[in-house]
Amino acid sequence: MFERFTENARTVVVLAQQDARERGDSAIDTGHLLRALYAVPDNLALMVLEGFSVRRADVEADLAGSAVATPRSSAADADALAALGIDLDEVRRRVEEAFGPGALDRAQEPKRRFLGGHIPFAGEAKKSLELSLREAISLGHNYIGTEHVLLALVRGDGAAHDVLVGRGVRLDVARVMVEELVRGRRAG
């Protein structure tokens, strides 16, 4: 399906993979895709985000916050440990102070056999890329641009959806904005 992607949209996917690798994440999730949209200058998705006054710094902060707030399903563990008088957040804080962010949660992941190798898409990210095709088709566009990726992120599940909807982005409004932008400008 990538053959229908515009140059910018391909760059977004490549940058999302790079971002995941640099962060030591084991899969590309919708958060990586959203960050990558901001990393490609002057694209249509950014104009839509601008229309909703959703700024890069806010998105970065929201994504970082959601990653810290839900490290695995450790909320239940935190409660259970609290019953023993152990503060899991404090343990995590001290470990991260010494070993860096995410150290405790990363500790047990298998080492990557090929540094710089292929990083798979998480289920939600894969679904988003499929949805971007559907968004393009339903708008009558014969290509997939950054604008369709953005619509798919709003429409699908995942961290990007939560952040965007939380920041007031509405799918129906975003679609209208895309239609108008595309009418006035070549695809991006």
């Binding site: 019953a83 470990v95 047990q108």
Partner: protein, 71 residues
């Protein structure tokens, strides 16, 4: 009941669901900390034998457990 007494009650709970969940959570925390510390020790040049001695387990046990996750 305020929060502090609730926690105290949970800690001394005879309810197996509460007690076992706490043990399971503790084990997950232990495993994470152990993996982190073993990786750190290897990164600092410790031998598997030195790590095993510090953990009070056999060299074979620690090597088998971490050879796939730690260089």
């Amino acid at each position: 009941m305020n929060e502090a007494t609730e926690v105290a009650a949970a800690a001394s709970s005879r309810d197996p669901a509460v007690g076992l969940a706490a043990v399971a959570a503790l084990r997950r925390l232990l495993e994470s900390l152990e993996a982190l510390q073993v990786a750190n020790a290897r990164a600092q040049g410790w031998s598997w034998q030195q790590i095993a001695d510090a953990l009070a387990v056999s060299r074979q046990a620690v090597h088998k457990k971490y050879r796939r996750t730690v260089a």
